[in-house]
Amino acid sequence: MFIGPHRRPLGVAVFLLTAALMAWPAAAQTKGAAPKDPETVEMVSKSNAECLGCHTQEALKKPPRPDMDLAKLGEALTDPGLYDASAHAGMACKTCHVGGYREYPHAAPAGAPPAGAPPANAPKIAKAETLQCDECHAQLTFRIDAQVEKSVHSKNLKDAFTCSTCHDPHVYKTAAKLVEPVKIVAQDNGMCLDCHDNDVRFAKFGGTLTPKKARPDIDAIHMWLPNAKRHWESVRCIECHTPPATTRQLAVSHEVLNKEKAERNCVTCHTQNTALRTRLYRYTAETQAQQAGFLNSALLGNAYVIGATRNTYLDLLGLGLIGLTIAGVGGHAAIRILGALVRRGRKQ
């Protein structure tokens, strides 16, 4: 990702940053945050409407211009509905898509070969660039960077694996925004299954490796897991495929583990001190600690997790019932033995 191995020279970064700041209305925004004041919101909306005039499925069907490269456009579409619900909702497209993206036709991205030799006296056009995530999320990516580098994805795919390979910035919502575990699970597992349950997309990455890596059957490699489908509906792949987070700021590690290193100890989740409390349920667990005697009652709205959501009152009742039964038969046996001894004594 856009982290360590991708760092561009400082001069380029400064240039891009300057270009981004110059791109009105993006410049009117606080970097990394959607605008709040009505005037800027209106300007962002108008600016984005220009972009979405071409970059939507509808526009692809009815191209607004006759000279467009539709194949290329087809690879750069956005769903406005999903974008407006995403973590980046309200932000101007040109906050991240800078330089040549302000004009049409967009200039070739930096490093791409020119389509034709421009005349010597042609005005210089800034190259079209999409800013890396760390331009805004520097603090976060600083922490995540080291974890990503250790992940199975980075080890195998090197620089071909970036933030947006998993986190589509036009769609992705943060867990803190989603809050509800069922929504977090659906989004996050969807990111994994986009490749790991899709031969075409998996081949795009696995096919570049030497030797080529074929997509393992996701059901077959999870045969050991009881009710695998139920697990996938209730928890994220990363509950097992990442090590415990080391900082509170990051609920999950970005060190994605392969199947050999992934969690196989069921009791990590299936116990009173379930790891789910600090992972998937970190946004709800603290507000719903224990209700009606149920441990980790925050989990109960979505799943009964054996070992983790047992009821302490019923457990006491159970132990009491078994204890009393054992004490009862023990006492009865003791009196019987005593009676037998007394009778034997009388006979003698």
Partner: protein, 204 residues
Amino acid sequence: MSHRIYLLPPWIRIWHWTNALLIITLTITGASVHFADPNLPMVPFELATQIHNIAGLALTAAYVFFVVANIVSGNWWQYVPKPQGFLTRCLRQMRFYAWGIFRGEPHPYPPTPEANFNALQQIVYWFVMYILMPLLLVTGLVFLWPEFAPKSVFGMDGLLPVAVLHYLVGLVIVAFMVAHIYLGTTGHTVTSLFRMMVTGWHEG
């Protein structure tokens, strides 16, 4: 011993010990899963789950066999509490366990081929075998195939009432098992009823 009577055909004895072995296995593995804790000395969760699932299915098969064999052989009649003088027989039996047994009195209703069980056994066995066991097995099967559980109950996962019922019924059956094993020592001698469950011959 004074006399012996042949009470239990092989199928009852084989079913009984199969059932006993499975219930003990399910109790240990069930407790290991329910009270799962890395600091407690219990069967590892993954292994306990696998054993519990297999033993649960085997218990279901054994129960189906028990019901069918009871119908075919007519043994089901033994479990039906006979109304005439039922309360009196229950009270006499309770008095025996609470008092007479300590004084060495004889059993008030010794078993016969026609009436294998005393009145208390009839009512308890009937309740355990025809009410609790089906409840335990059905909730266990829903646990195994949770797609059959309701999606949600009062805003909580639909498996919750299934899990609670399975746990409670399991508890009562474990308590019954403890008492049942103990009452096995109340025969003509401490071991005579256990021998009967192996040989089929009751010693009186």
